[in-house]
Symmetry: D2
Subunit: 338 residues, 4 copies
């Protein structure tokens, strides 16, 4: 931590802060500047907020951390990228992984139809929501356990592993019975009770960035899962909230190279939620691959105009197949397989 003092701080004030820093177990190192003094608190301060509280002293102007606050998620702990294995699929390797399927599981017919078609087009994982976090209590909330059973049937038919969302700590075990990857939705990225619960399960976790979560906070949420004992975390960029309204969210592809620098975790991109409009999905999917993502997660629906949720951002199966063709070419151009 770097503690910046207000100008005009006295030697007694400096000594008092040095005393407090050392009482907390750090070494204090003071630089007397021309206009103000700065005290470095030396030691590993990650996750320890007590130094921050010094900011409430009258003579302190600011307290700034030097280290990134996450450890296990950090590239410094592990130089090479992590790989997460799901069934026969590996996330984080040279081969990109595309997850596709409907926003919500709506019916057996809908799901099996889509599952077969996304598999034919090259998807390696089937997505589909059984428990749906809906902004309005009056909107369709998902088929719940019935939806999980349909996902299991689709998996038997196609061989595709399943990614599906879990919203509730009490439901983690149930969902984990059916799912191959547990998805934590954007709205639960700082639901720490849920993060602690999925950390106890032996299933990979797909951690969607919250709509106003900084990359640092996102990696700290990953740290909850990692430090709870589950090393199989996949990050998913799905758009942040900004002032721009021509897209539903602003898919932040900058997050890909930033995460790749800071962390060893694999990261996939969700251009469906990120843009909110099917017409923009392909461009942003290709851009995500070019930016270095390890995979994509895309919503596909046989009749988007009748979807019970997220119709406007769902691709028809043939558009998805066309996207996959183009994605293969861009992947090859950046030395990845698909």
């Amino acid at each position: 931590m770097i503690i910046v003092l207000k100008s005009g701080s006295s030697e007694a004030e400096i000594a008092e802060i040095e005393r407090r820093i050392e009482a907390m177990g750090y070494r204090a190192h003071t630089i007397r500047g021309e206009l103000r003094s700065v005290i470095g608190a030396i030691g590993d301060d990650r996750g320890k907020d007590r130094l921050r509280a010094l900011e409430s002293l009258e003579c302190v102007e600011s307290v700034t951390p030097i280290l990134q606050p996450f450890k296990l998620a950090s590239r410094e702990v592990r130089r090479e990228g992590s790989e997460v294995r799901v069934g026969g699929v590996t996330l984080g390797g040279r081969r990109l992984v595309v997850m596709a399927g409907p926003c919500s599981v709506e019916s057996r017919l809908q799901l099996l139809d889509v599952a077969a078609r996304v598999r034919a087009a090259g998807a390696a994982v089937l997505r589909g929501g059984a428990f749906k976090p809906r902004t309005s209590p009056y909107a369709f909330q998902g088929l719940e356990e019935e939806g999980l059973k349909l996902l299991a049937e689709a998996k038997r038919e196609t061989g595709l592993p399943i990614v599906t969302e879990v919203m509730d700590p009490e439901r983690v075990d149930t969902v984990a019975e059916y799912a191959d990857i547990l998805q934590i939705g954007a709205r639960n990225i700082q639901n720490f009770s849920l993060l602690r619960r999925v950390a106890e399960v032996r299933k990979p976790v797909l951690l969607k960035r919250g709509m106003s979560t900084t990359i640092q906070e996102w990696l700290l949420s990953a740290e909850y899962v990692l430090s709870g004992g589950n090393r199989d975390v996949i990050l998913c960029e799905r758009g942040i909230r900004t002032f721009e309204t021509s897209t539903r969210f602003t898919l932040d592809l900058n997050a890909i190279p930033v995460v790749k620098k800071l962390s060893h975790l694999p990261v996939v991109v969700d251009p469906s939620h990120g843009t909110g409009h099917w017409e923009y999905v392909e461009a942003m999917a290709l851009a995500g691959i070019a930016a270095g993502a390890d995979g994509l997660i895309i919503e596909v629906h046989p009749r988007p105009e009748e979807a019970l949720s997220d119709g406007p951002q769902s691709l028809k199966p043939d558009r998805f197949a066309a996207l996959m063709e183009r994605a293969r070419r861009v992947a090859a151009a950046v030395d990845r397989d698909l």
Copy 2:
């Protein structure tokens, strides 16, 4: 809903959309404009997303709702403001309610000391966190049930009702045993499992706006609680995330008159989290009252520089007492009591 068609849409396309709208149980009313046609879907569409899915048709440019999507939270359903009673305290009446206390319950001594002092200064409710949602898994996570017991003791000593956060559906009953008001934190504003659970409890709910929640979404989260059977919802503005970094969040006081226009629910302001710096708390507390808030929630700590959480934004008890003096004067200037 208003469905705007792309320019050059054919009569057959218009007829097809009219057919779909009527099949969903709405009346269709088409306006043929000079450059493009617009179809109104007449009927109560609140919370029903199926019309939105028409946006995925090629000939449709956009689908825009006309009604606000919430019902029970709406001022149209209830013209006069709601009042929420807690012990002898009423939120939403002429008298403002100030809730104060430490960010976290840290020890018996700390809590009892603060409780007595905020009561003496005029606080009507004691706040204090026992379960703490912390960005980092390595930060102090609260005293948990031990903290709840200390809050109960402080209540016995001071007579102040208690507001404290609940983070986990499984813990709702436990927290409700001790708390008079259940707080839903900003990070759980769209934790719909938790909202549904607190709707089943007979205790008022303090619903903090999420850091990137629109006012419409915030009222929809209130709608989860209201439609689940709990009519005692108190809204709390606590700052949104913007580009500005000189404050920790941007306390959005505009939300006060907007909420007062759209909804009958009482609304309080949290200038501690909203600004993140004790030096700005008083100005924003007074501004919140002038803007029409029904109360304040403020962090007070006897020694902020030693706080285990949120030290930089905590007031010392004597500063809090001074704030209360000034708050009384501003309250009187806008015809409120304190």
Copy 3:
């Protein structure tokens, strides 16, 4: 500046950076931490970007300034608040100053009518746009010099000094002939050619914060005017751009106490542009006063529903008069006069 090195930096790399720092005229002071080293560059680095460029070295993780980059605008340079005198009016003193009038000067009749009525209600300065920065080239662009002449006539009739916007360096002298205060609009806050030009004029400058300008950048724009020789700068908070759409902008009242801490300049609040809806103007005007603003600037129009610009946010004269009554009471509650 604080230069943080990547972990594993060698002694040779540290020495090289120390050498570069000293070559630029600073003293280097290195703190060797457990995980990474930090080098302080001691000296007044305000406005000097050359140290920042060190961030492009491979071994450097980040370069962070310690000092606020502005000087003349800083509270450290001048402890007491500045006062700006315009005609018989003083901005920055105990007495609040309310500026009011139409968004655009539309006609002689409209302007003289409004001017008389805002004066009667207690406004001390008349606002009105002659040159209008409009998002669309097809929108009403103002009466230009004809508008300035009408403002001059209104000044003669009412005695109120005039604040009006200048958009173009070539027009500064013309506008300064008629105006008592030159307004720099939000869209020109970083139009540095214009800032340099108004710095040369002997008229106070009202500097509206840009819709995405940080407080630091805003004060740096003030610094352009101050360092150019014009000490009469008035800041104006008028709303920033956020994700929230229920108001046109998000009036950021937090900026008031922050500016008062960092700077000696007077600051006024524009609740009309800040909210974009007349129904919210009064609440935010009162809140602005309670937060510590030195004045208000408010749009008033005799028939807002026929206004050529900004009708939805304009108050009718009688609503403005009612607002002034309430504003007087809130002002008194925070020991200000109005």
Copy 4:
């Protein structure tokens, strides 16, 4: 426009609004809904704000435009993409155009060195700032006309056309003497005096999106230039301001497919300003191409650690050459040449 009335509006109020709409030259078409009525104002309302002012009537809830407000910039006016020719280079065709060079022209040696190297690597246009819009008045402000002369020399030596910024209406003619493309910087995107001036010049204009400019506003700024008579507008996405601080701005690649849908104008991407860190430039440059951009603009400096501006985001020439190699492969994968 769609005018939504408050619930409970009377027939007299509806008739009054219909009367006003027709008095303004539109046809009124009223839909009486179950909960509220909606009136369509039929006619071309682009750029005409007068209907908006109806929002200030008590019985009106909102007024919403149906049409995009720009015309000449619109894809509806021109279905095929526009091409802008500069020297032998065409922007908007199958071949991508890369503009590269230093942030600021600092010296003859620096510029000629960079110019030769970016040309060798495949850049088709040389960028370099002579007039620099700097946040701080104390920062390096550019070599001004001396810088323009050096750019002209570099053009003679390399044959590369020049893009450079113009900040001031009074300087447009001078800059246009030397420049092949006039750049309008992000901070001047709503400097309408400047936009009107460059519309009168016979040189292409590179219009950088402002840091908080919506795509609609950006296209309206383009409309100022187009409607002023200059059809050669190139758009440039360079990052918007969001809450995320790990990048300097958030490069919004979503803008590429959105602009391509709404407009016929060519669009290029600036990953240097968009990210602010050289380490992220290549990933975002490749992503920009994959998203459908017509070109790139990239900062290159022989010794970024000594740059007088924007060192942290500048690439060394050999990194730029490597980026160009990869960019060629991605371009080919999306059927573009480079």
